[in-house]
Symmetry: C2
Subunit: 298 residues, 2 copies
Protein backbone atom coordinates (compact mmCIF):
# COMPACT_ATOMS: atom_id res chain seq x y z
CA UNK A 1 0.00 0.00 0.00
CA UNK A 2 1.12 3.57 -0.62
CA UNK A 3 0.80 6.40 1.87
CA UNK A 4 0.05 10.07 1.26
CA UNK A 5 1.02 12.41 4.08
CA UNK A 6 -0.50 15.89 4.18
CA UNK A 7 1.17 18.18 6.67
CA UNK A 8 3.70 20.84 7.45
CA UNK A 9 7.25 21.12 6.19
CA UNK A 10 8.97 23.56 8.47
CA UNK A 11 12.09 25.13 9.83
CA UNK A 12 12.13 24.66 13.60
CA UNK A 13 14.10 26.40 16.31
CA UNK A 14 14.09 24.36 19.49
CA UNK A 15 15.56 24.71 22.97
CA UNK A 16 15.67 21.82 25.43
CA UNK A 17 17.63 21.16 28.64
CA UNK A 18 20.28 19.55 26.41
CA UNK A 19 20.89 22.45 24.04
CA UNK A 20 19.50 24.38 21.12
CA UNK A 21 18.91 23.84 17.42
CA UNK A 22 18.14 26.71 15.05
CA UNK A 23 16.31 26.65 11.74
CA UNK A 24 16.43 22.88 11.47
CA UNK A 25 14.28 20.57 9.36
CA UNK A 26 10.89 19.95 10.92
CA UNK A 27 7.17 19.70 10.29
CA UNK A 28 4.70 16.86 10.64
CA UNK A 29 5.03 15.65 7.03
CA UNK A 30 8.81 15.49 7.30
CA UNK A 31 8.90 13.57 10.57
CA UNK A 32 6.17 11.14 9.53
CA UNK A 33 7.57 10.47 6.05
CA UNK A 34 11.11 9.86 7.24
CA UNK A 35 9.80 6.85 9.14
CA UNK A 36 7.02 5.56 6.89
CA UNK A 37 9.52 5.37 3.98
CA UNK A 38 11.01 2.27 5.62
CA UNK A 39 7.72 0.44 5.09
CA UNK A 40 5.93 1.81 2.02
CA UNK A 41 5.89 4.25 -0.89
CA UNK A 42 5.47 7.64 0.75
CA UNK A 43 4.19 10.85 -0.83
CA UNK A 44 4.20 14.27 0.80
CA UNK A 45 1.62 17.01 0.22
CA UNK A 46 2.65 20.39 1.66
CA UNK A 47 4.25 23.71 0.92
CA UNK A 48 7.62 25.36 1.53
CA UNK A 49 8.85 28.85 0.74
CA UNK A 50 11.52 29.69 -1.80
CA UNK A 51 13.96 30.02 1.11
CA UNK A 52 13.70 26.32 1.99
CA UNK A 53 17.24 24.91 1.58
CA UNK A 54 17.64 22.70 -1.49
CA UNK A 55 19.77 20.31 0.56
CA UNK A 56 16.74 19.52 2.72
CA UNK A 57 14.70 18.67 -0.36
CA UNK A 58 17.55 16.54 -1.64
CA UNK A 59 17.69 14.69 1.66
CA UNK A 60 13.99 13.81 1.43
CA UNK A 61 14.34 12.72 -2.21
CA UNK A 62 17.39 10.61 -1.45
CA UNK A 63 15.39 9.01 1.35
CA UNK A 64 13.01 7.80 -1.36
CA UNK A 65 10.12 10.16 -0.55
CA UNK A 66 7.95 11.30 -3.46
CA UNK A 67 7.81 15.13 -3.44
CA UNK A 68 5.49 15.65 -6.43
CA UNK A 69 2.85 17.01 -4.06
CA UNK A 70 5.22 19.42 -2.29
CA UNK A 71 4.64 22.94 -3.54
CA UNK A 72 7.40 25.54 -3.54
CA UNK A 73 5.69 28.92 -3.13
CA UNK A 74 7.02 32.46 -3.25
CA UNK A 75 7.71 33.66 0.26
CA UNK A 76 9.13 32.20 3.42
CA UNK A 77 8.80 28.69 4.85
CA UNK A 78 6.63 27.96 7.90
CA UNK A 79 8.65 28.37 11.09
CA UNK A 80 8.06 27.10 14.62
CA UNK A 81 9.97 28.19 17.71
CA UNK A 82 9.56 26.05 20.81
CA UNK A 83 11.08 25.25 24.16
CA UNK A 84 10.90 22.23 26.47
CA UNK A 85 11.38 22.49 30.20
CA UNK A 86 10.33 19.06 31.36
CA UNK A 87 10.75 17.23 28.02
CA UNK A 88 7.09 16.23 27.99
CA UNK A 89 5.29 19.41 26.99
CA UNK A 90 6.47 21.91 24.37
CA UNK A 91 5.99 25.60 24.98
CA UNK A 92 5.43 27.35 21.66
CA UNK A 93 7.40 30.61 21.64
CA UNK A 94 6.52 31.64 18.11
CA UNK A 95 4.68 30.38 15.05
CA UNK A 96 5.33 32.06 11.69
CA UNK A 97 2.87 30.57 9.22
CA UNK A 98 4.39 32.39 6.21
CA UNK A 99 3.53 30.45 3.00
CA UNK A 100 1.51 28.03 5.13
CA UNK A 101 -1.04 30.79 5.83
CA UNK A 102 -2.42 30.52 2.29
CA UNK A 103 -1.76 26.82 1.89
CA UNK A 104 -4.34 24.97 -0.10
CA UNK A 105 -3.30 21.37 -0.70
CA UNK A 106 -2.80 20.72 -4.41
CA UNK A 107 -2.73 17.01 -5.10
CA UNK A 108 -1.33 15.64 -8.33
CA UNK A 109 -3.87 13.59 -10.30
CA UNK A 110 -1.71 10.54 -9.66
CA UNK A 111 -2.40 10.92 -5.92
CA UNK A 112 -6.17 10.70 -6.30
CA UNK A 113 -6.44 6.98 -5.71
CA UNK A 114 -4.51 6.12 -2.60
CA UNK A 115 -4.46 3.29 -0.12
CA UNK A 116 -3.71 5.16 3.05
CA UNK A 117 -4.05 8.88 3.72
CA UNK A 118 -2.53 10.64 6.72
CA UNK A 119 -3.90 14.09 7.43
CA UNK A 120 -1.36 15.66 9.76
CA UNK A 121 -2.26 18.35 12.25
CA UNK A 122 -3.48 21.18 9.98
CA UNK A 123 -6.69 23.24 9.66
CA UNK A 124 -9.64 20.80 9.55
CA UNK A 125 -11.04 22.76 6.59
CA UNK A 126 -7.96 21.77 4.59
CA UNK A 127 -8.14 18.22 5.93
CA UNK A 128 -11.71 18.00 4.64
CA UNK A 129 -10.70 19.36 1.19
CA UNK A 130 -8.16 16.58 0.82
CA UNK A 131 -10.60 13.96 2.09
CA UNK A 132 -13.12 15.05 -0.54
CA UNK A 133 -10.53 14.90 -3.32
CA UNK A 134 -8.85 11.60 -2.55
CA UNK A 135 -10.36 8.15 -2.88
CA UNK A 136 -8.62 6.61 0.09
CA UNK A 137 -9.08 3.16 1.54
CA UNK A 138 -8.03 4.23 5.00
CA UNK A 139 -7.84 7.71 6.50
CA UNK A 140 -5.81 8.66 9.57
CA UNK A 141 -6.17 12.10 11.15
CA UNK A 142 -4.10 14.00 13.68
CA UNK A 143 -5.27 17.18 15.38
CA UNK A 144 -4.51 19.45 18.35
CA UNK A 145 -6.08 21.61 21.07
CA UNK A 146 -5.96 24.74 18.84
CA UNK A 147 -8.42 23.24 16.31
CA UNK A 148 -10.60 21.73 19.03
CA UNK A 149 -11.08 25.24 20.45
CA UNK A 150 -11.26 27.24 17.23
CA UNK A 151 -12.87 24.99 14.60
CA UNK A 152 -14.69 22.27 16.49
CA UNK A 153 -17.61 21.85 14.05
CA UNK A 154 -15.27 21.40 11.09
CA UNK A 155 -13.05 19.09 13.08
CA UNK A 156 -15.96 16.88 14.16
CA UNK A 157 -16.90 16.46 10.49
CA UNK A 158 -13.35 15.40 9.63
CA UNK A 159 -13.17 12.99 12.56
CA UNK A 160 -16.51 11.42 11.62
CA UNK A 161 -14.95 10.30 8.33
CA UNK A 162 -11.66 9.07 9.76
CA UNK A 163 -10.63 5.47 10.37
CA UNK A 164 -7.77 6.22 12.74
CA UNK A 165 -7.61 9.27 15.01
CA UNK A 166 -4.37 10.34 16.69
CA UNK A 167 -4.94 12.58 19.68
CA UNK A 168 -3.17 13.20 22.95
CA UNK A 169 -4.62 12.60 26.40
CA UNK A 170 -5.42 16.23 27.27
CA UNK A 171 -6.92 16.80 23.84
CA UNK A 172 -9.24 13.80 23.88
CA UNK A 173 -10.53 15.00 27.26
CA UNK A 174 -10.99 18.51 25.85
CA UNK A 175 -12.72 17.17 22.74
CA UNK A 176 -15.21 15.04 24.66
CA UNK A 177 -15.57 16.95 27.93
CA UNK A 178 -14.69 13.80 29.92
CA UNK A 179 -12.20 13.84 32.77
CA UNK A 180 -11.34 10.12 32.61
CA UNK A 181 -9.10 9.09 29.74
CA UNK A 182 -10.81 5.73 29.10
CA UNK A 183 -14.19 7.41 29.17
CA UNK A 184 -12.94 10.17 26.85
CA UNK A 185 -11.52 7.69 24.33
CA UNK A 186 -14.82 5.79 24.27
CA UNK A 187 -16.73 9.03 23.73
CA UNK A 188 -14.34 9.98 20.90
CA UNK A 189 -15.18 6.68 19.19
CA UNK A 190 -18.77 7.87 19.04
CA UNK A 191 -17.57 10.87 17.02
CA UNK A 192 -15.63 8.80 14.54
CA UNK A 193 -12.78 6.42 13.89
CA UNK A 194 -12.43 2.67 14.05
CA UNK A 195 -9.52 3.24 16.40
CA UNK A 196 -8.60 6.16 18.65
CA UNK A 197 -4.87 6.32 19.38
CA UNK A 198 -4.41 8.27 22.60
CA UNK A 199 -0.84 9.53 22.90
CA UNK A 200 0.40 9.89 26.48
CA UNK A 201 3.90 11.30 25.96
CA UNK A 202 6.53 9.58 28.05
CA UNK A 203 3.89 7.17 29.38
CA UNK A 204 3.18 5.54 26.03
CA UNK A 205 -0.01 5.26 24.05
CA UNK A 206 -3.30 3.41 24.07
CA UNK A 207 -5.46 2.19 21.21
CA UNK A 208 -9.20 2.09 21.77
CA UNK A 209 -11.69 0.56 19.36
CA UNK A 210 -15.13 -0.94 19.59
CA UNK A 211 -14.58 -3.90 21.92
CA UNK A 212 -10.85 -3.28 21.74
CA UNK A 213 -8.37 -1.83 24.21
CA UNK A 214 -4.60 -2.06 24.03
CA UNK A 215 -1.88 -0.24 25.97
CA UNK A 216 1.73 0.26 25.10
CA UNK A 217 4.36 1.93 27.31
CA UNK A 218 7.30 3.66 25.65
CA UNK A 219 10.55 2.07 24.58
CA UNK A 220 12.97 3.15 27.33
CA UNK A 221 15.18 6.07 26.29
CA UNK A 222 17.57 7.13 29.05
CA UNK A 223 18.38 10.54 27.57
CA UNK A 224 15.54 12.34 25.81
CA UNK A 225 17.25 15.23 23.99
CA UNK A 226 14.41 16.71 21.92
CA UNK A 227 10.83 15.38 21.80
CA UNK A 228 9.90 17.50 18.75
CA UNK A 229 8.28 15.33 16.12
CA UNK A 230 7.69 12.37 18.44
CA UNK A 231 3.96 12.23 17.64
CA UNK A 232 4.53 12.45 13.90
CA UNK A 233 7.35 9.93 14.04
CA UNK A 234 4.93 7.64 15.89
CA UNK A 235 2.33 8.16 13.13
CA UNK A 236 4.96 7.50 10.45
CA UNK A 237 6.10 4.15 11.82
CA UNK A 238 2.55 3.19 12.80
CA UNK A 239 0.96 3.94 9.42
CA UNK A 240 3.96 2.63 7.53
CA UNK A 241 3.53 -0.72 9.23
CA UNK A 242 -0.19 -0.79 8.38
CA UNK A 243 0.57 0.06 4.73
CA UNK A 244 3.15 -2.71 4.62
CA UNK A 245 0.72 -5.18 6.17
CA UNK A 246 -1.92 -4.28 3.57
CA UNK A 247 -4.75 -4.65 6.08
CA UNK A 248 -5.98 -3.44 9.44
CA UNK A 249 -7.20 -5.70 12.20
CA UNK A 250 -6.67 -5.87 15.96
CA UNK A 251 -3.45 -7.84 15.63
CA UNK A 252 -1.97 -5.48 13.00
CA UNK A 253 -3.06 -2.55 15.17
CA UNK A 254 -1.01 -3.85 18.12
CA UNK A 255 2.08 -4.33 15.97
CA UNK A 256 1.58 -0.88 14.42
CA UNK A 257 1.61 0.54 17.97
CA UNK A 258 4.93 -1.20 18.61
CA UNK A 259 6.43 0.22 15.41
CA UNK A 260 5.14 3.74 16.10
CA UNK A 261 6.52 3.64 19.64
CA UNK A 262 9.90 2.52 18.39
CA UNK A 263 10.19 5.08 15.56
CA UNK A 264 9.27 7.82 18.06
CA UNK A 265 11.95 6.49 20.41
CA UNK A 266 14.63 7.05 17.78
CA UNK A 267 13.34 10.54 17.04
CA UNK A 268 13.67 11.89 20.59
CA UNK A 269 17.29 10.88 21.04
CA UNK A 270 18.62 13.94 19.20
CA UNK A 271 17.59 17.30 17.75
CA UNK A 272 15.55 17.47 14.54
CA UNK A 273 16.40 14.59 12.20
CA UNK A 274 19.97 14.12 13.41
CA UNK A 275 20.50 10.41 13.57
CA UNK A 276 17.11 9.62 12.02
CA UNK A 277 18.44 9.44 8.46
CA UNK A 278 20.85 6.64 9.20
CA UNK A 279 18.51 4.36 11.19
CA UNK A 280 17.90 1.13 9.28
CA UNK A 281 14.82 -1.04 9.10
CA UNK A 282 16.81 -3.73 10.83
CA UNK A 283 17.49 -1.43 13.78
CA UNK A 284 13.77 -0.60 13.97
CA UNK A 285 12.89 -4.30 14.01
CA UNK A 286 15.49 -4.94 16.70
CA UNK A 287 14.00 -2.33 19.00
CA UNK A 288 10.51 -3.71 18.41
CA UNK A 289 11.77 -7.12 19.48
CA UNK A 290 13.44 -5.61 22.55
CA UNK A 291 10.25 -3.73 23.50
CA UNK A 292 8.23 -6.92 23.17
CA UNK A 293 10.68 -8.46 25.63
CA UNK A 294 9.93 -5.76 28.22
CA UNK A 295 6.22 -6.50 27.91
CA UNK A 296 6.22 -10.26 27.87
CA UNK A 297 4.32 -11.63 30.82
CA UNK A 298 6.06 -15.01 31.14
CA UNK B 1 4.68 -17.37 53.41
CA UNK B 2 3.37 -14.92 55.99
CA UNK B 3 3.50 -11.16 55.68
CA UNK B 4 4.04 -8.52 58.36
CA UNK B 5 2.88 -5.03 57.46
CA UNK B 6 4.18 -2.08 59.46
CA UNK B 7 2.33 1.13 58.76
CA UNK B 8 -0.37 3.57 59.67
CA UNK B 9 -3.91 2.84 60.76
CA UNK B 10 -5.82 6.06 60.34
CA UNK B 11 -9.05 7.94 60.10
CA UNK B 12 -9.14 9.78 56.77
CA UNK B 13 -11.25 12.67 55.57
CA UNK B 14 -11.19 12.93 51.82
CA UNK B 15 -12.73 15.19 49.19
CA UNK B 16 -12.73 14.29 45.49
CA UNK B 17 -14.72 15.55 42.48
CA UNK B 18 -17.22 12.77 43.27
CA UNK B 19 -17.95 13.68 46.88
CA UNK B 20 -16.62 13.58 50.41
CA UNK B 21 -15.93 10.99 53.07
CA UNK B 22 -15.29 11.93 56.70
CA UNK B 23 -13.39 10.04 59.37
CA UNK B 24 -13.28 6.83 57.37
CA UNK B 25 -10.98 3.85 57.73
CA UNK B 26 -7.58 4.46 56.17
CA UNK B 27 -3.85 4.14 56.61
CA UNK B 28 -1.20 2.20 54.71
CA UNK B 29 -1.39 -0.90 56.90
CA UNK B 30 -5.17 -1.12 56.52
CA UNK B 31 -5.20 -0.74 52.74
CA UNK B 32 -2.31 -3.14 52.20
CA UNK B 33 -3.59 -5.81 54.58
CA UNK B 34 -7.13 -5.81 53.20
CA UNK B 35 -5.68 -7.03 49.90
CA UNK B 36 -2.78 -9.23 51.02
CA UNK B 37 -5.19 -11.26 53.21
CA UNK B 38 -6.53 -12.88 50.03
CA UNK B 39 -3.13 -14.44 49.43
CA UNK B 40 -1.36 -15.06 52.75
CA UNK B 41 -1.41 -14.83 56.54
CA UNK B 42 -1.22 -11.10 57.22
CA UNK B 43 -0.09 -9.38 60.42
CA UNK B 44 -0.33 -5.66 61.14
CA UNK B 45 2.07 -3.64 63.27
CA UNK B 46 0.83 -0.15 64.09
CA UNK B 47 -0.96 2.00 66.61
CA UNK B 48 -4.41 3.48 67.03
CA UNK B 49 -5.85 5.76 69.71
CA UNK B 50 -8.49 4.77 72.19
CA UNK B 51 -11.01 6.61 69.98
CA UNK B 52 -10.58 4.15 67.11
CA UNK B 53 -13.99 2.57 66.54
CA UNK B 54 -14.20 -1.04 67.68
CA UNK B 55 -16.23 -1.90 64.58
CA UNK B 56 -13.21 -1.07 62.42
CA UNK B 57 -11.06 -3.45 64.47
CA UNK B 58 -13.74 -6.09 64.17
CA UNK B 59 -13.85 -5.63 60.41
CA UNK B 60 -10.10 -6.24 60.16
CA UNK B 61 -10.31 -9.29 62.46
CA UNK B 62 -13.22 -10.72 60.53
CA UNK B 63 -11.21 -10.25 57.36
CA UNK B 64 -8.70 -12.66 58.87
CA UNK B 65 -6.00 -10.11 59.67
CA UNK B 66 -3.82 -10.79 62.74
CA UNK B 67 -3.91 -7.70 64.99
CA UNK B 68 -1.56 -8.91 67.74
CA UNK B 69 0.93 -6.24 66.70
CA UNK B 70 -1.61 -3.41 66.65
CA UNK B 71 -1.21 -1.28 69.75
CA UNK B 72 -4.11 0.64 71.22
CA UNK B 73 -2.62 3.69 72.92
CA UNK B 74 -4.12 6.39 75.07
CA UNK B 75 -4.98 9.38 72.93
CA UNK B 76 -6.37 10.00 69.48
CA UNK B 77 -5.86 8.05 66.28
CA UNK B 78 -3.73 9.39 63.43
CA UNK B 79 -5.83 11.50 61.06
CA UNK B 80 -5.23 12.59 57.47
CA UNK B 81 -7.26 15.17 55.59
CA UNK B 82 -6.80 15.34 51.83
CA UNK B 83 -8.32 16.58 48.62
CA UNK B 84 -8.01 15.53 44.98
CA UNK B 85 -8.55 17.92 42.12
CA UNK B 86 -7.35 15.88 39.17
CA UNK B 87 -7.61 12.43 40.79
CA UNK B 88 -3.90 11.81 40.29
CA UNK B 89 -2.26 13.90 43.01
CA UNK B 90 -3.53 14.29 46.56
CA UNK B 91 -3.27 17.62 48.28
CA UNK B 92 -2.76 17.10 52.00
CA UNK B 93 -4.91 19.59 53.91
CA UNK B 94 -4.03 18.39 57.37
CA UNK B 95 -2.05 15.68 59.13
CA UNK B 96 -2.74 15.00 62.81
CA UNK B 97 -0.13 12.50 63.97
CA UNK B 98 -1.70 12.09 67.45
CA UNK B 99 -0.68 8.68 68.90
CA UNK B 100 1.44 8.12 65.79
CA UNK B 101 3.81 10.89 66.92
CA UNK B 102 5.27 8.67 69.63
CA UNK B 103 4.83 5.41 67.78
CA UNK B 104 7.56 2.92 68.33
CA UNK B 105 6.74 -0.40 66.68
CA UNK B 106 6.36 -3.14 69.26
CA UNK B 107 6.53 -6.53 67.63
CA UNK B 108 5.29 -9.65 69.41
CA UNK B 109 7.99 -12.29 69.83
CA UNK B 110 5.99 -14.50 67.46
CA UNK B 111 6.58 -11.94 64.70
CA UNK B 112 10.38 -12.11 64.95
CA UNK B 113 10.83 -14.76 62.29
CA UNK B 114 8.89 -13.73 59.25
CA UNK B 115 8.95 -14.53 55.57
CA UNK B 116 8.03 -11.19 54.10
CA UNK B 117 8.14 -7.78 55.78
CA UNK B 118 6.47 -4.68 54.35
CA UNK B 119 7.63 -1.41 55.84
CA UNK B 120 4.95 1.09 54.84
CA UNK B 121 5.63 4.77 54.43
CA UNK B 122 6.74 5.78 57.96
CA UNK B 123 9.82 7.43 59.50
CA UNK B 124 12.92 5.58 58.20
CA UNK B 125 14.26 5.49 61.76
CA UNK B 126 11.28 3.33 62.73
CA UNK B 127 11.64 1.28 59.56
CA UNK B 128 15.24 0.54 60.55
CA UNK B 129 14.23 -0.45 64.10
CA UNK B 130 11.86 -3.06 62.72
CA UNK B 131 14.42 -4.28 60.19
CA UNK B 132 16.91 -4.81 63.01
CA UNK B 133 14.39 -6.72 65.11
CA UNK B 134 12.91 -9.03 62.53
CA UNK B 135 14.61 -11.90 60.76
CA UNK B 136 12.91 -11.50 57.43
CA UNK B 137 13.56 -13.38 54.23
CA UNK B 138 12.37 -10.54 52.04
CA UNK B 139 11.94 -6.86 52.89
CA UNK B 140 9.81 -4.40 50.94
CA UNK B 141 9.93 -0.67 51.70
CA UNK B 142 7.70 2.23 50.74
CA UNK B 143 8.65 5.87 51.27
CA UNK B 144 7.68 9.39 50.21
CA UNK B 145 9.09 12.83 49.33
CA UNK B 146 8.82 14.02 52.96
CA UNK B 147 11.40 11.47 54.16
CA UNK B 148 13.62 11.99 51.12
CA UNK B 149 13.88 15.67 52.07
CA UNK B 150 14.01 15.40 55.85
CA UNK B 151 15.79 12.11 56.66
CA UNK B 152 17.72 11.17 53.57
CA UNK B 153 20.71 9.57 55.33
CA UNK B 154 18.47 7.32 57.44
CA UNK B 155 16.34 6.48 54.41
CA UNK B 156 19.36 5.53 52.30
CA UNK B 157 20.39 3.09 55.01
CA UNK B 158 16.93 1.51 55.01
CA UNK B 159 16.83 1.28 51.23
CA UNK B 160 20.28 -0.33 51.11
CA UNK B 161 18.86 -3.27 53.08
CA UNK B 162 15.61 -3.61 51.14
CA UNK B 163 14.79 -6.21 48.51
CA UNK B 164 11.83 -4.36 46.98
CA UNK B 165 11.45 -0.58 46.95
CA UNK B 166 8.12 1.08 46.17
CA UNK B 167 8.50 4.69 45.07
CA UNK B 168 6.62 7.02 42.77
CA UNK B 169 8.04 8.65 39.67
CA UNK B 170 8.62 12.13 41.12
CA UNK B 171 10.14 10.64 44.27
CA UNK B 172 12.63 8.40 42.50
CA UNK B 173 13.77 11.43 40.50
CA UNK B 174 14.05 13.44 43.73
CA UNK B 175 15.93 10.64 45.49
CA UNK B 176 18.51 10.21 42.73
CA UNK B 177 18.68 13.70 41.22
CA UNK B 178 17.95 12.31 37.75
CA UNK B 179 15.38 13.87 35.41
CA UNK B 180 14.76 10.74 33.34
CA UNK B 181 12.64 8.07 35.00
CA UNK B 182 14.56 5.09 33.55
CA UNK B 183 17.82 6.69 34.55
CA UNK B 184 16.46 7.45 38.03
CA UNK B 185 15.24 3.89 38.57
CA UNK B 186 18.64 2.51 37.56
CA UNK B 187 20.37 4.93 39.94
CA UNK B 188 17.99 3.87 42.74
CA UNK B 189 19.07 0.26 42.19
CA UNK B 190 22.60 1.33 43.07
CA UNK B 191 21.25 2.47 46.46
CA UNK B 192 19.47 -0.77 47.19
CA UNK B 193 16.80 -3.23 46.27
CA UNK B 194 16.67 -6.17 43.91
CA UNK B 195 13.67 -4.50 42.29
CA UNK B 196 12.54 -0.88 42.20
CA UNK B 197 8.80 -0.53 41.64
CA UNK B 198 8.15 2.91 40.18
CA UNK B 199 4.51 3.88 40.61
CA UNK B 200 3.18 6.22 37.92
CA UNK B 201 -0.38 6.84 39.10
CA UNK B 202 -2.95 6.53 36.33
CA UNK B 203 -0.20 5.54 33.89
CA UNK B 204 0.67 2.29 35.64
CA UNK B 205 3.91 1.08 37.14
CA UNK B 206 7.29 -0.19 36.11
CA UNK B 207 9.59 -2.74 37.72
CA UNK B 208 13.32 -2.26 37.29
CA UNK B 209 15.93 -4.78 38.36
CA UNK B 210 19.46 -5.66 37.39
CA UNK B 211 19.03 -6.69 33.73
CA UNK B 212 15.27 -6.51 34.18
CA UNK B 213 12.67 -4.02 32.99
CA UNK B 214 8.92 -4.53 32.93
CA UNK B 215 6.06 -2.09 32.37
CA UNK B 216 2.45 -2.41 33.32
CA UNK B 217 -0.33 0.07 32.45
CA UNK B 218 -3.34 0.33 34.76
CA UNK B 219 -6.45 -1.79 34.62
CA UNK B 220 -9.01 0.56 33.00
CA UNK B 221 -11.36 2.16 35.52
CA UNK B 222 -13.85 4.50 33.88
CA UNK B 223 -14.81 6.32 37.06
CA UNK B 224 -12.07 6.91 39.60
CA UNK B 225 -13.88 8.04 42.73
CA UNK B 226 -11.10 8.17 45.34
CA UNK B 227 -7.46 7.24 44.70
CA UNK B 228 -6.61 7.21 48.44
CA UNK B 229 -4.81 4.00 49.31
CA UNK B 230 -4.08 3.02 45.70
CA UNK B 231 -0.33 2.68 46.33
CA UNK B 232 -0.85 0.61 49.48
CA UNK B 233 -3.51 -1.51 47.82
CA UNK B 234 -1.00 -2.12 45.03
CA UNK B 235 1.61 -3.17 47.61
CA UNK B 236 -0.92 -5.44 49.32
CA UNK B 237 -1.87 -7.39 46.21
CA UNK B 238 1.70 -7.39 44.93
CA UNK B 239 3.31 -8.67 48.15
CA UNK B 240 0.42 -11.04 48.82
CA UNK B 241 1.03 -12.70 45.49
CA UNK B 242 4.76 -13.03 46.22
CA UNK B 243 4.02 -14.53 49.63
CA UNK B 244 1.62 -17.00 48.06
CA UNK B 245 4.17 -17.93 45.38
CA UNK B 246 6.79 -18.57 48.08
CA UNK B 247 9.61 -17.22 45.88
CA UNK B 248 10.68 -14.19 43.91
CA UNK B 249 11.98 -14.31 40.36
CA UNK B 250 11.38 -12.25 37.23
CA UNK B 251 8.28 -14.22 36.27
CA UNK B 252 6.73 -13.96 39.76
CA UNK B 253 7.59 -10.25 39.76
CA UNK B 254 5.55 -9.68 36.58
CA UNK B 255 2.56 -11.52 37.96
CA UNK B 256 2.88 -9.63 41.25
CA UNK B 257 2.71 -6.39 39.24
CA UNK B 258 -0.52 -7.63 37.62
CA UNK B 259 -2.04 -8.46 41.00
CA UNK B 260 -0.98 -5.14 42.54
CA UNK B 261 -2.43 -3.22 39.62
CA UNK B 262 -5.72 -5.06 39.91
CA UNK B 263 -6.09 -4.69 43.68
CA UNK B 264 -5.38 -0.94 43.29
CA UNK B 265 -8.04 -0.79 40.56
CA UNK B 266 -10.70 -2.06 42.98
CA UNK B 267 -9.59 0.39 45.65
CA UNK B 268 -10.06 3.56 43.59
CA UNK B 269 -13.63 2.79 42.56
CA UNK B 270 -15.08 4.09 45.81
CA UNK B 271 -14.24 5.99 48.99
CA UNK B 272 -12.16 4.36 51.71
CA UNK B 273 -12.78 0.61 51.89
CA UNK B 274 -16.33 0.74 50.56
CA UNK B 275 -16.64 -2.20 48.24
CA UNK B 276 -13.19 -3.54 49.10
CA UNK B 277 -14.44 -5.86 51.84
CA UNK B 278 -16.68 -7.83 49.53
CA UNK B 279 -14.26 -8.34 46.63
CA UNK B 280 -13.41 -12.02 46.29
CA UNK B 281 -10.21 -13.70 45.21
CA UNK B 282 -12.07 -14.96 42.17
CA UNK B 283 -12.95 -11.40 41.14
CA UNK B 284 -9.30 -10.40 41.54
CA UNK B 285 -8.20 -13.31 39.34
CA UNK B 286 -10.81 -12.39 36.74
CA UNK B 287 -9.52 -8.83 36.46
CA UNK B 288 -5.95 -10.09 36.19
CA UNK B 289 -7.01 -12.26 33.29
CA UNK B 290 -8.83 -9.34 31.67
CA UNK B 291 -5.78 -7.07 32.07
CA UNK B 292 -3.57 -9.72 30.49
CA UNK B 293 -5.96 -9.65 27.54
CA UNK B 294 -5.43 -5.91 27.07
CA UNK B 295 -1.68 -6.45 26.97
CA UNK B 296 -1.43 -9.50 24.80
CA UNK B 297 0.49 -8.76 21.64
CA UNK B 298 -1.05 -11.39 19.35
Amino acid sequence: MSLIIVGSVALDSVKTPYGEAEEVRGGSAVYASMWSRHFCTTRIVGVVGSDFPQKHLNMLKEAGIDLEGLEIADGETFRWVGEYDNLNVAETKDTLLNVFADFSPKLPESYRNCDLLFLGNIDPVLQMQVMDYVNACLIAVDTMNFWISSKKAELLKVLSKADIIFINEEEVKQLTGKRNVFDAAKAALEIGGKYIIVKQGSYGAMAVGHDFLFFLPVYPIYKVVDPTGAGDSFAGGFLGYIAESKKLDHSIMKKAMLYGTVTASFDIQDFSLAGVKSVTRQEIDQRVEELVGYLTLD
